[in-house]
Symmetry: C2
Subunit: 346 residues, 2 copies
């Protein structure tokens, strides 16, 4: 059986389409439709299993009650959990979430955004890659509801919710230094994304504060391009080249997981041979032995804040720029033990 429309109901009940529409939107009482008509319309609608055509509705009203979420990679722990929170929060306001991952592939990322823009959601939640800038600017120009998460563009006037990445990196390196580590490496990825830059700055400043010199040779920018070597291999080569490294700060979950694999391949034991701290928590870090110390992001807060701001833009037309920078949480586990102090220092 085909789907029933308002017209079908109108025909069956003998009233106009207008009346049916009013009744089914729950405005019958208010619009003084008689009780008998209301009852009849509702009965028929039920019987025909009526479900409004959302295209027609959206075409007319301009609303979709759908939000678009674009993240790098849904299978990544941080984004998977963020997605879940976002979905839960959106649901509270009556919105569904449609999401896409941009695969961290610059070509694809643009494409995904284009498609989502075309689908005309009521608002967008985006963890943008650099290549998305033009489209993001276009969204802003069209005054469409938009909140950036996890990253932002300095030259785009958009609201965003991020972590204090500088502080996360700074605190980690500071902690390493206090525990007695001296050759602290940074393993990050190649992108120019703002959050990576900030983490890099935090790393450098904490070294300086602790009177450790910054050595470019202790920083590895891993390339994610598929034509390059596998990431695990890239990290292994880097670590082999600098056997003096006694601590590593990984700037992402992913890198951390791969880094642990590299360390294992090299026969280096975390904690005993080398200290490790990672951005973003996950099950592996929590339950591994030794447990991996991490800079954990307040995922729940990020999601909640982002949705709140977005809904505010949509429903209250509050387009004021909001910038929320949340504090990271340094969770110390077993991968960062204090180093034995050299005997001569005693």
């Amino acid at each position: 059986m085909k789907k029933a429309s308002l017209k079908d109901i109108a025909k069956k009940t003998g009233v106009s389409v207008t009346t049916v529409s009013i009744v089914l939107n729950g405005n019958g009482k208010e619009r003084k439709i008689s009780d008998s008509v209301i009852a009849k319309v509702e009965r028929v609608a039920e019987k025909l299993y009526y479900r409004p055509n959302q295209f027609a509705k959206s075409l007319r009203t301009g609303k979709t009650f759908t939000l678009g979420l674009i993240v790098d990679d849904i299978s990544n722990f941080f984004f998977a959990h963020l997605s879940k929170i976002v979905e839960e929060e959106a649901d509270k306001f009556g919105y569904t979430v449609m999401f896409c991952s941009s695969e961290n592939d610059e070509g694809k990322a643009r494409n995904v955004l284009k498609i989502l823009l075309d689908k005309q959601m009521d608002g967008y939640l985006i963890a943008p890659t650099l290549s998305m800038l033009p489209d993001v600017l276009q969204l802003i120009a069209e005054k469409r509801p938009l909140v950036l998460i996890d990253r932002f563009f300095q030259n785009a006037t958009a609201s965003y919710v991020t972590l204090d990445n500088y502080k996360g990196a700074y605190d980690s390196v500071d902690y390493f230094a206090n525990q007695g580590y001296r050759n602290i490496a940074l393993i990050t990825n190649e992108t120019e994304q703002i959050q990576m830059k900030e983490r890099f700055e935090g790393y450098k400043d904490a070294l300086k504060k602790n009177k450790l010199s910054f050595l470019p040779a202790l920083v590895k920018k891993v390339s994610f391009k598929s034509e390059d070597e596998k990431i695990v291999i890239q990290i292994e080569k880097f670590l082999k080249a600098r056997p003096d490294i006694d601590a590593i700060l990984f700037t992402s979950n992913n890198l951390g997981v791969l880094g642990l694999e590299s360390l294992r391949n090299l026969g280096k034991k975390v904690a005993r041979d080398i200290g490790v701290i990672c951005f973003d928590d996950n099950d592996l870090f929590r339950l591994a032995s030794p447990g991996i110390s991490v800079i954990s992001q307040p995922i729940k807060q990020i999601g909640k804040n982002a949705i709140r701001i977005l809904i505010d833009q949509i429903e209250n037309k509050d387009m004021g720029q909001k910038h929320i920078v949340l504090s990271p949480n340094l969770v110390i586990r077993d991968s960062t033990p204090a180093k034995a102090v050299a005997v001569s220092a005693l």
Copy 2:
């Protein structure tokens, strides 16, 4: 600036809306529109940053090029990865994926499905919970494109793609038995979902084949209800009550992760004190030391097959029922060492 419509372009170029529509759909040549008009229309469309209104389009054509994916919990490793594959595959055919997690919460699950139904996607990919049966039947009755994944309903005439769950469990227990384990526990969850039943059967049959008796006391059905005890505690209690258990088969990723936490809390060492095999692989299992043996699902194949069948339904109206049951892959790591044979047996 407001969004441009076909009408705006028509006005600006001096041709009719029809012509503009034809040109922008790439049918200009074929429909004998003059080159000069084509060029002009395209230039203006570009300048006004024209993007078609998808509601109008869908309203008219009935197509959305959007698929709905409903899974238990996106933050779960298996589903997160499945989602990614599904998205990639769908993209190849020009479809975007909208997804929702049902949170394994029966109440919410139905609601999510209702919303997705209303959004009128071109097709649905569902890992159904039991409570979805009525809506799934409704979808089938309306002859809407639909493929069930991971689970299925025996009494619903839908296509599905699943794992051979029976075999997965059977092989694991058989392996345990061959390695010399004698008191093999099963930790599963409370649901009546078909895949859990199959795993249970596989467990029982493999015990029988190895002349081990099936003891209900060695089976723990964990409750996920929030009002009940935390899962980690439930598992700890179970293990404390039966200190004779020398091996555990966890029927899900989630349970495995929580189980490892319980074991750690109890001071039991995997491999040394107890053998462990888990359904579904993840980073933790792969990189933990000792590495956890797992029954890994061919996620890529599941996703690819499901999309292929779904697209076939949508584009070729091929509504024939397809049932694909993929073979699990028992990946042996360090959590299942052979047990020392009792001296008396020598």
